[in-house]
Amino acid sequence: MTELRFFGFRPPGIEGQSLPGRLVVIEATDGVGRSTQVALLKEWLEDEGYAVLDTGLRRSDLAGPGIERAKQGHTLDPITLNLFYATDFWDRLERLIIPGLRAGMVVIADRYVFSLIARAAVRGVSERWLEQLYGFALIPDRVIYLDIDAEQLLPRVLRRGGFDYWESGMDFIRGPNVHDNFMQYQRMLLAEFRKLAVRHDFTVIDARGSVAKIFRGLRTEVEDVVSGMGLESVGAGESDAFTLPESAAPSG
């Protein structure tokens, strides 16, 4: 059971006390290999017989396309960008994550509000304001944080195709040296993640090892979260009624 508890307050339109599904959050900075782990985890859970729903930032019907457009140009201050992401997050929480949990699925969130808080905080937005803003977020069953240092991140990012404008913090860190910008930005971000890890009791997995080693650690954690799920009774009507919105269908 996932208790219907929120960080700050229960938002309007959300009913009930508990949900039969499980919410697992995977947090990490850019380039760690998070998406790979999520893909492996999803396959493994499905093979084990669980119904799985995965969701990630910017994938909402409502705000996904708008964020992509906004990031292409214009003057975009960190508060506006954050509220845009908050809209995207809420839309997915309300129309995807909570219905999925209600239907008894394992929901894997590829990043959650913590990434949004960390990114805005390093750009000077008040942490208190951010935590209050995300008071409407559902408290997950587990937050698994893939921990790494900026130095170890570097080869992975290069192998993946190089530095990205936003992942190098170039919207607020000046100077032509992209490598230095990337390192400075990622160090700030990692420090913020580690602060959040303590405050919100993340389960930390050392992400410096091989994909296989990280996945073994991840699987152990998730096994613990989903254990016993099959023994709980699910209101059959509820799970029958759930159909995925088009945007949630698996892509590529």
């Binding site: 700050g8 307050f9 938002p11 309007p12 339109g13 019907d61 409502l62 705000a63 396309p65 708008g66 457009r69 906004a70 214009h74 003057t75 975009l76 201050d77 508060i79 506006t80 509220l83 845009f84 908050a86 809209t87 809420w90 839309d91 309300e94 304001w129 209050q132 803003l133 008071g135 409407f136």
Partner: protein, 244 residues
């Protein structure tokens, strides 16, 4: 809200649809321009970055109370940081048609937590003066329904399931909004204006209240262009409308 400690001034109008607030703000705008002030106007829901998402949400009816609230906050943040704040720094008179109080009213009647809303908008700048155009509900509804062939979904509050009839829903929705405004007038000291009064009188009253705050506000000389036109005996036929 952040206190306004900047060279510019910020005046805003609030009120239910059909209160005549936009008409009054428009008259004020024209007067301020004629007096030589640098005037910048900001309208609710007009950020070029966010607008398309709000439109998408409304058109496809994707907006729930919380996403309605968040996307409007994004729009407001964008206008504050890209438009309103720089103008106030530059010493302009900024006029806003609707401000945070619109969000406080509309979101609260949709069940969004009031304290959360106030914290959400804590980045907003406190207006120099905020006017609330108060009009009896029946009068406001008559004004809107007279001039409009049909009401839009969110405009009529149809998302709130108050009634399936658009006009009835609109009336109930506006009634709730109005009650919320009454609370806000108390809480934030909005200046209550009688919107049933003669338009000219209303405008005189508004100007009278604003005038004391205009002392010392810059009136940049924009006569350079006019001078060039006069010197050359030109009409400025090919100038873009902004400069004419």
């Amino acid at each position: 809200m952040r206190d306004l400690d900047l060279p510019g001034k910020l005046f805003i109008v609030e009120g239910v649809d059909g209160s005549g607030k936009s008409t009054q703000l428009d008259l004020l705008h024209k007067w301020l321009v004629s007096q030589g002030y640098l005037v910048v106007f900001s309208e609710w829901n007009s950020s070029p970055i966010v607008q398309s998402t709000t439109r998408r949400g409304k058109k496809r009816r994707l907006l729930s109370p919380m996403s309605f609230s968040l996307i409007h906050a994004a729009d407001f943040a964008s206008r504050t940081n890209a438009h309103i704040l720089p103008a106030l720094n530059a010493g302009a008179v900024v006029l806003a048609d609707r401000y945070v109080y619109t969000a406080f009213a509309r979101d609260a009647v949709r069940g969004v937590n009031r304290d959360w809303l106030r914290r959400l908008y804590s980045f907003a700048l406190k207006p120099t003066l905020a006017f609330y155009y108060d009009v009896p509900l029946g009068e406001a509804i008559r004004r809107i329904l007279d001039g409009r062939p049909s009401l839009k979904y969110y405009e009529a509050g149809l998302d709130m399931n108050l009634s399936s009839d658009a006009e009835e829903s609109f009336a109930l929705y506006q009634g709730l909004i109005k009650r919320e405004y009454d609370r806000l007038v108390e809480e934030f000291g909005l200046v209550r204006m009688d919107a049933t009064e003669n338009l000219i009188l209303q405008q005189q009253r508004m100007r009278g209240m604003i005038e004391p705050y205009l002392e010392g506000v810059a009136r940049p000389d924009d006569g350079a262009l006019n001078e060039a036109l006069l010197d050359g005996g030109l009409l400025g036929r090919y100038l873009t409308p902004r400069f004419r």
